[in-house]
């Protein structure tokens, strides 16, 4: 939270004249924060439980193109396509989770594989069916309202982001399932010994992660009025970066939705702030890299501090 205010103030000063602190500027960074925040939240939960998901990028792209092709080329009802998109997301999560839990392979590799397989399938099928890998979409007012509402520059994604953060916070802190998530990542064999169904916990979180990626895919499709199979690959690493900046431990067992929320704010402020400050956006990666390194060091320092006998 301190870091988030600091980064905000930094860009507020540097990009004051360009209108970073204006209504539009604020809406711009909120949009960016919200979109990465939606997936980073779920990736963060998964990381707390000790697993990774790199397949979110392809889920975003695949569901956006599925929605576009279905509504535009086949004139399907947008609500039905919406259900199909979320079904695709859920199945992807289930496959990721089932393979990871059954084979005990690192989820890093499993989801890297599904990320490639899914983007390949999305590109291949959309080329086969429509001879292109991007397509415009058709919606209904109801779908527009849920996933495409805008107030000035601010996107409905901001509301989804806030709502999901609240839900995730309640689940993690106030339900038995939340306790199991921390235990699964903190010490899996101890958790299993205490009767926690760790495999179930992981599979649920993989499905939730894919569903948030689907949500983001649909939001972006409706926002830009088009779907693109190649969309979303940037989030593959941005989401875990945001989670780590938000205080989630790489090794699992520790982190909070509120932390990831502030991590997302930092990400949005930097991304949009650099643009508003008029600097070359090539510097963004350098900023993020430095920040990630600082965050990892700080996290491991606080972890040691918290565990020292006192």
């Amino acid at each position: 939270m301190f870091a988030a205010s600091f980064v905000y103030l930094f860009f507020a000063v540097c990009a004051w004249r360009a209108g970073f602190v204006s209504l539009n500027g604020t809406a711009a960074w909120l949009d960016t924060s919200a979109e990465v925040g939606i997936v980073a939240l779920a990736v963060g939960l998964l990381m707390i439980a000790g697993e990774f998901d790199l397949s979110i990028g392809s889920v975003i792209g695949a569901t956006s193109i599925l929605f576009a092709i279905g509504t535009n080329h086949y004139q399907m009802n947008p609500w039905i396509m919406l259900a199909m998109c979320f079904a695709l997301g859920a199945v992807t999560g289930l496959v990721n989770g089932a393979i990871t839990v059954k084979t005990r392979l690192p989820s890093f590799i499993v989801t890297l594989a599904t990320n490639y397989a899914l983007i390949g399938a999305a590109l291949g099928f959309s080329r086969l069916l429509t001879n292109t890998t991007s397509s415009s979409i058709q919606t209904t007012p109801g779908v527009e309202l849920l996933f495409g509402s805008q107030w000035g520059q601010a996107n409905v994604a901001v509301l989804w982001w806030l709502a999901l953060t609240v839900v995730a916070t309640i689940v993690l802190w106030r339900t038995p399932f939340g306790n199991w998530v921390y235990a699964t990542g903190g010490n899996e064999s101890a958790a299993r010994g205490a009767g926690v169904p760790t495999g179930f916990v992981k599979i649920v979180l993989f499905i939730v992660t894919s569903l948030t990626a689907t949500l983001l895919g649909v939001i972006q499709a409706v926002e830009f009025h088009s779907g693109n199979a190649a969309n979303g690959q940037g989030y593959v690493f941005e989401a875990p970066i945001v989670a780590v900046i938000g205080g989630v431990l790489l090794g699992g067992g520790y982190g909070s939705p509120l932390g990831v929320f502030f991590g997302s704010i930092i990400f949005g402020v930097i991304t949009v702030g650099i643009f508003y400050a008029g600097w070359n956006t090539d510097w963004l990666m350098l900023f993020l890299g430095a920040l990630l390194l600082a965050a990892v060091l700080a996290n491991s320092y606080f972890r040691r501090l918290a565990l020292s006998e006192g």
Binding site: R174, A183, G186, A190, G193, G253, R303, S308
Partner: protein, 261 residues
């Protein structure tokens, strides 16, 4: 049934893993309010025996009796439900979680109804703190304290208090003192005594003859998967026990063997 009838018995139990005989015809019995010390060198079959008692593996041959009734545990969860709890040395606690959350892990008390059932953290904290205080863990006054800040002995106290809170009648303690310093080990031994006074049957697994002699009522020495000796408190000297653990017949004390306390 009288109070001193065994709670848990193994009769003629053998275990074979892929052609290797890990246990051969082992008979032990755990009495309420008594400490059964299971002694043996590394590889003597102690861990296999723990796994059978705690429901991880079924025996290949022989019978397990709970309250005199033949029983088969299909899982550690079932063993716990029948009152047989195992406290492992390292894997019992999750360092980055609070005392309260560790205490109720897998059995979280909830408030509310249906899908809106929430973890009742304030009631959980009160119950957990009261339970660990009974076992002398008075240093912890905030249920939110992370378990990683506790010492090895304090974690043992937490695990034992937890097992007893959830209704354990038999406590299996796997090498509870081996990784601890002298002071901490003494604390754990007094914990075991406290549990014994409450009528709990305790299986105390160790390769430390000194700790065993300090606490044990019944003794079983394992050697190469078989019971090398079985005796009551005061029937053998420490030298004889050490000799048995090293594979001798216990008849000749061997002063050259030093215990590793």
């Amino acid at each position: 049934m009288t109070q001193s009838d065994p709670i848990l018995q193994l009769i003629g139990v053998s275990k074979i893993f892929a052609g290797t005989q890990a246990l051969r015809n082992v008979t032990i019995s755990v009495r309420p309010g008594a400490v059964l010390c299971l002694l043996g060198d590394n590889g003597a079959g102690k861990s296999t025996l723990i796994k059978i008692l705690s429901g991880v593996h079924p025996p290949s041959a022989g019978a397990m009796l709970v309250d005199g009734v033949e029983t088969r545990f299909s899982s550690p969860r079932e063993a716990r439900a029948k009152g047989v709890a195992t406290v492992h040395q390292d894997v019992g606690a999750i360092p980055l979680m609070s005392v309260t959350r560790n205490f109720f892990l897998g059995a979280e008390p909830t408030r509310g109804w249906g899908p809106f059932r929430l973890f009742d953290s304030s009631a959980a904290a009160v119950a957990a703190l009261a339970a660990i205080r009974e076992f002398g863990l008075t240093r912890v006054t905030d249920g939110e304290q992370l378990v990683g800040t506790l010492s090895g002995g304090e974690r043992q106290a937490l695990s034992i208090a937890r097992a007893m809170y959830f209704g354990a009648r038999v406590l299996i303690l796997d090498e509870p003192t081996s990784a601890l310093g002298v002071k901490e080990a003494a604390k754990v031994l007094s914990l075991v005594k406290a549990a014994r006074t409450r009528g709990i049957g305790i299986v105390f697994i160790t390769h430390n003859a000194r700790h065993a002699m300090a606490i044990g009522d019944d003794f079983v020495v394992l050697n190469q998967g078989a019971v090398a000796a079985s005796f009551r408190r005061g029937e053998k000297t420490r030298e004889e026990v050490l000799d048995l653990m090293a594979g001798g017949d216990g008849s000749e004390p061997r002063p050259d063997l030093e215990d590793d306390a």
